[in-house]
Structures are given as C-alpha cells and as structure tokens.
C-alpha cells in the first residue's frame, strides 16, 4: 500500500525582499495511511510550510510531494482544488471560518464547491454536527461561537467530504486547556474510529501525546524521520 503522504527532497525558498530564505531543505518524509503524526519544531523551523506544501496550498521550490500515488506538481489548479475538496481536510490555528456563513454553511463549503447537491448531504451533515457536538449551534455564525466551538466547526468542515487526510496547523494554538482537550480528543477519534490520516503541526508536547509519531523539524530539516513516538 502506498504512503498517504510522501515527500522527496522537498525544498522551499522564500524571498524576503531580495534575500532568499531557505525554509525547507531536502525534506523526505513518509506518512502511512491511518497515522496520527505531529510535526514539531521551534518557530520559523518550517513546520507549517511543510504542512501547507503537503496540502497543495503552496508550491515547492524543488522536490516532489505524493498524496497516495499522485504527484502534486503534476496536477492542474483544478485537479489540486478537487483534491483539497475530496482527499484533504484542513484545520487552521485561527479556525478560518467564513464569518458571514452559518455553522452549517461553513461545514458544507467543500460540498458546495464540489458542485454536489446539499440535500444529498443532509444526513452526513447531521451526523458530523452531532460528532462535533454543535447540534444547538448550527444556525449561528462564527462570531457567535467560542474558540473551541469554532475549531470544532473547522474540523467538521474538514470531515464533511470524508477525506483520507486531515492536515491541522496548530489546531489548539488559540484555545484554552479545556477546549484543547475537546479538540484533540475529537481529532484522535477521527483518526482511530474513522481511520483518517491526521497530520498536525504543534508546539505542544501535550497535544503531540494524542498522536502516534512526531516529526521534528529544525532549520528546515527533519532530524528524526522514522523515529516512533510510542
């Protein structure tokens, strides 16, 4: 079985003015299907950049990224967009919900963008809202929700299209300890019960405990690839 996500000699260079900044240097990682991996590292180490590259939100300077057997750079914008709708679900630190849409509409965004009929997803929506325990909040807009609730909406949105991979960028970075616990439990359940591959970026060893492997990134390089957490 191919790896869920695989990178080969992945490099990313940004330009700060005219100065090139090498953020990722020849990264090679292999994430198997059903894994719950935490990418850790100090600020500016390139961990979020690695996550965004894996999800096709950014383009590498060199190297390859495979999602299953598909190499991302060979995909057109449309194919990458379809991939993000169906194969990958994103969760961000600041939730990134669309403020003028209700909880329901935010969750249904990937479905709507995929051109599917919302009525076919009524049951799935109901289930997922129940899973994230927001039954009494579905008509509310994001600004009427707490941080933890907003992040649960973001997770529900990431799950609605039943993708194989969930990519989470510091999903608890903006939450208090109680909300952190709720969100991490939810991600763990998604990983264990639904068999989704979860890759999260985190500073916190505490949240890393919920996963089964840690990839440490420092100065744009992975320095413990292959080392199991447990």
């Amino acid at each position: 079985m191919p790896a869920a996500i695989k990178t080969e000699n992945l490099c990313k260079t940004y330009h700060l003015g005219k100065v090139p900044v090498e953020v990722l240097k020849e990264i090679n990682v292999n994430i198997e299907q059903g894994e719950f991996v935490t990418i850790m590292g100090p600020s500016g180490s390139g961990k979020s950049t690695l996550l965004y590259l894996m999800g096709g939100l950014d383009q590498p300077t060199a190297g390859k990224i495979y999602l299953g057997e598909t190499e991302l750079s060979e995909m057109t914008d449309k194919e990458q967009s379809i991939m993000r709708r169906r194969q990958v679900g994103f969760v961000f630190q600041f939730y990134n919900l669309v403020p003028n849409l209700s909880v329901e509409d935010n969750i249904m965004l990937p479905v709507l963008l995929d051109g599917k009929k919302p009525r076919h997803y009524r049951e799935a929506l109901k289930d997922i809202i129940k899973t994230v325990e927001l039954e009494d909040r579905q008509k509310h807009t994001p600004r009427e929700l707490s941080g933890g609730q907003q992040q649960r909406v973001a997770i529900a949105r990431a799950l609605i299209n039943e993708p194989d991979i969930i990519l989470a960028d510091e999903p608890t970075g903006n939450l208090d300890s109680r909300a952190t616990e709720e969100v991490m439990q939810l991600l763990k359940r998604v990983n264990q019960e639904k068999g989704k591959t979860v890759v999260q970026v985190s500073h916190s060893h505490e949240t890393a405990q919920y996963g089964n492997r840690i990839i440490k990134v420092r100065d744009g390089k992975v320095w413990n690839e292959g080392e199991d957490h447990e």
């Binding site: 979020s48 950049t49 965004y52 999800g55 939100l57 950014d58 449309k78």
Partner: protein
C-alpha cells in the same frame, strides 16, 4: 502636534485611490455648489447684457400696446424732470435682393433687413454704434445707411458704396454711411436670416408716411432720478401707450428660476452621493486604524486626541476638496454659462462668469462641512470602543446588523409619499422637496431588505445560473456591507440618471404634445388685424384656412377668488376644435355650445386645482369693461402658460375686454404647400403692417433646442453624480476584496479553484448590480412621482412619462458597472496566495 500632522499626511499619501475618491467627491460637491450659487449672478449679467444689446442704456420704453389708438405716436415736447434723453425710433422691414449664388437652393431670393430709424446723435448716447469704417464730414440725414460688419462682409460693401434696398415693394438707393461692429443693435442672431441696418429716423418715417412719429421711444434717466416718478409722469403724457422698463427683475428671476432650481436639485443629489462615499470610506478608515488608535490610547492619548487624529484627516480632505472645488467650480460655471449663452431665441450671447467671495467661501465651507459631517459618525463610533477591546483587537468595527433600517424605510417612505400629496398649497414646495428626499432615503434604507427579498425570490435562478456558487454569492451579497454599500451607491447614481433622463424625455413628450395640440402650421400676428386681414390671409396661395385667435396675454386680475390669470382666450365655438386640440372633462361640443350662450368660463385643470374650483362656481375678473362675473361650466386639460389659462366665448371677450381685433391668426396650409414659403409670402404681403409670423415647426425646433441646452447641463450633472458613484463602487469592490482575502483563501483551502474564485466574485457583482439596477429604478420612480408635485407647487404643471427602455438600460447599466468594477478583484482573487492570506492577513 507635528507628529499627528505627519501621521495624517502619511495616511493621506499612502492610500492614493481612497484619497482620490474622497477628494473627488468633496471637490465635485463644492464645484457644483459653487456653480449653482454663481450661475444666478452670471446669467443675470448675461441676460441683462443681451437685453441691453437692443435697448442700450434705456431705463424706460414707450410703445403701443393692444389698447393704443395707433402703432405709432408723436414725441411730446413737454419737459419731464429726471429725463436725460428720449430717443425715438421707427423700424420697418425691408429686403436686399441676393445674387443667385447666395440664395439657398433658390428658396430665398432676398435677405430680410430690419431697418431701424434713429437720430444718430441720440443713438450714440443710447446705444453707441462702434464703427469699423465711417465716412467723415457727412451728416446722417437723407439716404444714408449704416450696415453691420457681417452684412458688409457677406455682400462686399465699403463706406460710400451704394446699395439698393426694397422698401414697401419699391427699390430705394442708399449710400453706406459706415460699417458697424456686430455689437449693440447690430448684434444679429447667427441663426437669423435677418440683418439689422440703421437709417435716419426721418427717412424711415417718410417711407412709412409717418412724419414726426415714432414707433418706440427709449428713455434714459438723469443719474439719481426716480424711475417710478418719471414713469408716472411719462404715463400721464403718453396715456394710452405703455411706459415700462425694458425688463424687470421679476422677468429675470422667472428666466433664471427654470435653470437655477434644477441645478440646486442636482447639486443636492451629488452631495448625497458624496456624503455616502465619505461616510462609508471613513468606516473602512476607522476600522483599519483600530490597532493604531489602540496603541495611541494605550500610551496615554485621550479619546478626544484620537478623534482629532481622524477628524484632522477628514479636515485635510475637506480643505483640499474646498480649494479644488473652487477651481473646478469656476470651470463648471464657465461651461454652464457657455452652453446657455448659445440661446436659440436670441443668438449667441456674450458672457462673463460672475462670482464673489460668497460663492468661494460657501463652496469652501460646504467642502469642509461635507467631509467633517460625513466622517463624524464613524469616528464617534470608534471613539466609544473601550481601550481594552482596541488593544486586544476585540472590536468588531461596524458589523452590527442595522435592524432600524427597515422600520426607518417604512416610516420615511410613507411620510415621503404623503407629504407632497397632503401639504397645504402655501407649504407645498418645501414639503414636496422634503417628501422626495424622504422617499429617496427610504429606498436607500430599504436596500438591505430589498436585497434579502430579491435573493429569496431569485435564489433558484442564481443556482441555475451559477450552481452552488450562486448560493454562496447570494449569501455574501446579503451579508457583505461593502456589497450593500455598492448597491446603495449605484442606487443613488442610477436613480439620479433615470430621473434626469425621464424628465428630459417627459419634457420632450410634453413639448411634442403641446405642439401637436396646434392643428395648424403658421402663427401670424398683424397690427390691428381687421376682417380684411383675415380675408387677405385666406387668399394667399397655399393657405387652407385661418382662425382668428383672441388671446389676452396681459395678466388678468381675478378679484374673486384672488388670482392672476396669465392667459384668457375668447374662442369661436364653431371652429376652435379645428385648430386646437380640446380635452375637456365631459362632452366637448356640449360644453363649447354652452360657453357661447352667456358669461360662462372654462379653466385649465391647474387653475381649477389652485383655486379649488367646481362647476357652478363664479369668477369675477377685473376686465377693461369693469368687473365681470363668469360662471364656471367645466375644465379642460391644458398646460399653456403653465396651466394658468381659461376660455370664454369670443362675443363676451370682445365685449368685456374691449378688443376689436384678434391677437393673432392660426393659419393652416394645404398639404402640398410649404409652410416656410407661405410664411415668406405672408411676411412680404403684410410687411407694412407690423407682421410677425413663425411656422410651428420652427417654434418647436427652437423650443427643443432651448430644452436640450438645459438638459445637457443637467445630464452632465447626473453623469457626474454617476461617475463619483462608480468611483465609489470600484473602491468598495477593492476594499471588499481586501477584507475578504482571508475568506477567499479559506474557500481555496477547502477546494475552490481559480476559476470558481473569479466566478464567485463575478456572480456576486452580477447579482449586486442587478439589485442595484432594480433599486435604482425604484429610487428613480420614487423621485419622479414626487417631481410633478414640486413643479406644481412652483406653478408648473408637468406630467411624467416613463420610458420603459430606460428601465432596462438602468438594469443593464447596474450590472455592467458592477461587473466591470469586479474584474480586478476577480483577477486578484484567482491569483490569491492562500498561505499569505491565511497566515499573515
């Protein structure tokens, strides 16, 4: 203080498009105010100059009127204190035979000349002739003639040359005394085929057989002499003649009112757009500055200080707009004056723009006030945010839902609709204007509600057109403040454009209808036209029929109820309908028959409305025969003399108004005859009897030209309003894109493609534009239904005619503008860097 000024200037310079938008809005408002307030003085000067061209320094003019025993009179030798000069004139028509090459397609064989007989010394004192050439040592008596430079150039005459002129059918030889520059009396209209020439008064009198008589006398007063006293003294001498100033301030005011009032109306519309743009832009500015304001406050700045930072920025825009507004205002004033100077009735007028400190200071203060007042509410709102929320970035700006807007729209709409309809006559004008503004405000407040209803109704269509993107677009249009602002801006712009174009169209229709009411081809008046004149007219080849129109154009004093009737007709019931359209309430024949049976009167609807008349009421008029009471037997539809007109039977007209002769004749020509040729024939046959005549076609064309001039200006104003609105819309789309970058990036992160991103923005624009077109039409209708009440209150009856194609243009215009404005955001949206937008916004 220095750092605050530096901060303000930096903000202004950094956001160039925003600065441009605010400054252009303020500038336009100030410039239009400047022009509107300055146009009155400029036009007064222009019209006075124009009127003075003919009458020179005359303070009073003595001439014959309908009640005078003759069209000429002898100048009295009685001394009147205060009179410096009485210059008599005898004028007559003449013609100059043209060579074949000059005649237009053989239509004109001769050029009409207006010969004016003066004593040259008197004329030089009254209305100086500026000679480009003049013979020396000659006395201006006998067969000398002064030609205009234009005529002399056209036909190659020099001083001393001989010229043959046809007067009363006989050829007369004159010698050219001098050539005059085209000023004063010699300022002929370029459109006119007629040219003026001056000959000695005695010579003119001898050709007319009027030795010692004049047809007009121009009176110049001694400096400091009382006009009223001299007028009274002269009236005693010339008892049965008219002694009046050449024009009165009331005449000028009436001429100016038609132009100045619509300009102020348009200025207020532009002002409305400017206020809205500045208000909405300052909402964005204050939202953007929240972190900086928080920083200022956290290091000890008071609320007042941070308010002043923002007010300072607003003041800077106002000051800049005020200065530019004055400069632009001079340009706009010049432009308006130059357009109006090409007067179809009297030819090209000389003009100089007139403005003073009042206009400049007024425009400047308006600019500052517009900027400060429009920005005050957003600034105050920010001022009230607690410091903690500012520092922690918890303040949400102005995203609250405005639940008061719908009730406000309902209340304003109802009041605005009711006010013009129920206000008492004496308050009708201000209340009708207020009502129109209230209705327009109601439409603006109702924009969110209309948007919601529209989206509810057309959600299915949007989905059909754009799929699920249509659904997302609908949700965004409904909730996005910037999109709603765009709809509002377009609503105002489209409403104003629709209003001006519909009024222009309506005026065109009304003018057309008015001229279509005249079922004849030529209007002719001949001094003291007895039966023989009418018979002679009928005998002219091509004339198919004539109607002797008895029209009393001197205002009639109605004593009970109190009213001034502008136009009273004495009609011939048997043939009236053959020459004039007659639309009474009831059976026309029956009413006309009854009218001829006694002292009965019918009035136009406008007069009925003002006097609250009913059938059976009695009207007492102060007529030349004394007070006469007429019974009202009906009403009819007519806008002649702005609806201040009434008709009685011609028998009682002759009796009570003591008018022996008809005022004019309506002449119908054969279908195969050319009205111009028939008119030329009439002029030629009656040239010795003070004939005046015009074809209806020519009158209509001149009226059209005058209306077109006025509407060119008004349309330019409304286009300007629209242009400012469009700038605002472009700005709002860019602001909206900047504010939604993160949302768009989020959508991209969950699978929105580049194409979908562009399509979403375009779908929103199309929907917003369509709603704006619809609300613009609604706003336009709201204003237009109130306009007749405003005009009616000003004594001008007016019917609005809606042109359905304008509605489609408005709808399409709204969509095109919105789509065009959204092109750049759509392009930028499709190229959006998701990571940058999500991580660093």
């Amino acid at each position: 203080m220095g750092i605050i000024v530096k901060y303000i200037l930096k903000n202004i310079v950094e956001k160039k498009f925003r600065t441009f938008l605010i400054v252009i809005s303020v500038t336009c408002s100030a410039a239009l105010f400047f022009a509107s307030s300055g146009i009155s003085g400029t036009l007064t000067g222009m019209y006075e100059d124009q009127l003075r061209m003919d009458t020179g320094k005359a303070d009073l003019i003595i001439r014959a009127n309908e009640r005078s025993p003759s069209s000429t009179f002898r100048l009295s030798h009685d001394e009147v204190q205060g009179v410096k000069l009485i210059a008599g004139e005898i004028s007559m028509g003449a013609s100059y035979r043209l060579s074949d090459s000059i005649g237009r397609a053989g239509q004109f064989e001769s050029r009409q000349l207006h010969l004016r007989g003066f004593h040259l010394d008197e004329l030089q004192e009254l209305n100086p002739v500026l000679f480009s050439q003049v013979g020396v040592g000659q006395e201006f008596t006998g067969n000398w003639i002064i030609l205009s430079q234009i005529f002399a150039k056209e036909h190659g005459y020099q001083t001393g040359d001989s010229i043959n002129i046809e007067i009363n059918g006989a050829s007369r030889r004159f010698s050219v005394f001098g050539i005059a520059y085209p000023t004063g009396l010699f300022r002929d209209s370029p459109q006119s085929e007629q040219r003026t020439a001056v000959i000695p008064r005695e010579t003119a009198a001898s050709y007319q057989g009027l030795h010692g008589q004049v047809s007009r006398a121009y009176v110049v007063l001694e400096p400091g002499a009382g006009e009223a006293e001299v007028q009274q003294a002269l009236q005693q001498i010339y008892r049965r003649y008219e002694v009046e100033p050449p024009f009165t301030q009331a005449d000028l005011s009436a001429m100016l009112g038609v132009i100045v009032m619509p300009l102020y109306l348009m200025t207020s519309m532009v002002l409305m757009i400017s206020v809205f743009i500045i208000y909405s832009t300052f909402k964005v500015i204050t939202a953007e500055r929240l972190p900086v304001i928080g920083t200022f406050r956290s290091i000890g700045a008071t609320r007042r200080m941070t308010d002043w930072v923002l007010m300072g920025e607003s003041l800077a825009y106002g000051l800049l707009g005020g200065v530019l507004g004055n400069v632009a205002g001079i340009g706009v004033l010049y432009l308006i004056a130059s357009i109006l100077a090409a007067d179809p009735w009297s030819g090209q007028m000389d003009f100089r723009i007139e403005f003073g400190l009042f206009q400049m200071a007024g425009a400047f203060l308006l600019a500052v006030a517009v900027s400060l007042i429009s920005s005050w509410i957003p600034i105050r709102r920010v001022s009230k945010i607690p410091i903690k929320e500012l520092v922690l970035n918890l303040a949400e700006g102005s995203s609250r839902k405005k639940s008061w807007k719908t009730p406000a729209a309902l209340v304003l709409g109802t009041l605005g609709w009711l006010l013009p309809r129920v206000s008492p006559h004496e308050w009708a004008l201000p209340l009708s204007v207020l009502g129109v503004f209230m209705t327009m405000s109601a439409v603006i407040f109702a924009v969110p509600l209309i948007t919601r209803v529209f989206l509810k109704l057309f959600e299915g269509l949007l989905r059909l057109l754009f799929g699920n993107l249509g659904l997302l677009a609908a949700k965004n249009v409904k909730d996005n403040t910037n999109v709603l602002n765009n709809i509002t801006l377009l609503t105002i712009g489209i409403s104003v454009l629709l209003m001006i174009n519909t009024i222009s169209y309506s005026v065109g229709i009304e003018v057309l209808n008015a001229y279509r009411d005249w079922k004849f081809d030529i209007m002719v008046s001949v001094y003291q036209a007895d039966r023989s004149v009418e018979q002679s007219l009928r005998a002219i080849p091509g004339v198919n029929g004539t109607y002797a129109a008895r029209e009393y154009r001197t205002p009639v004093n109605v004593t009970d109820p109190n009213y001034t009737l502008q136009h009273l007709q004495g009609i011939n019931a048997a043939s009236y309908e053959e020459y004039m359209a007659f639309r009474p309430d009831g059976d026309a024949q029956e009413l006309l028959e009854k009218l001829s049976q006694g002292r009965y009167i019918m009035t136009a609807h406008m007069m009925r409305h003002i006097l609250q008349l009913e059938v059976g009421d009695r009207i007492t008029m102060d007529l030349p025969s004394g007070l006469q009471t007429y019974e009202v037997i009906g009403f009819y539809d007519s806008l002649m003399m702005n609806g201040s007109n009434a008709m009685i039977d011609e028998r009682y007209y002759r009796l009570d108004l003591q008018e022996a002769f008809p005022e004019r004749f309506y002449v119908r020509v054969d279908e195969t005859a050319d009205p111009d040729a028939v008119l030329a024939d009439i002029r030629s046959r009656f040239r010795q009897r003070g004939v005046w005549g015009e074809t209806i076609q020519h009158l209509e064309a001149m009226n059209d030209e005058f209306n077109n001039q006025l509407f060119t200006i008004l349309k330019a104003f409304s286009v300007l309003a629209m242009v400012i609105g469009i700038f605002g819309v472009f700005n709002n789309y860019i602001i909206s894109f900047i504010q939604r970058k993160r949302s768009l990036a989020v959508m991209k992160s969950v699978g929105m493609s580049k194409f979908q991103s562009g399509a979403l923005i375009m779908a929103e624009a199309l929907t917003g534009g369509c709603i704006a077109g619809f609300t613009g039409i609604l706003g336009g209708i709201a204003i237009l239904t109130g306009i007749p009440y405003i005009l009616e209150a000003g004594g001008i009856p007016f019917n609005i005619h809606f042109a359905i194609n304008y509605f489609f243009v408005a709808l399409a215009g709204g969509m095109v503008i919105a789509l065009t404005a959204s092109l750049s955001p759509a392009l930028r949206g499709s190229k959006l860097n998701v990571v940058d937008a999500i991580k660093y916004e």
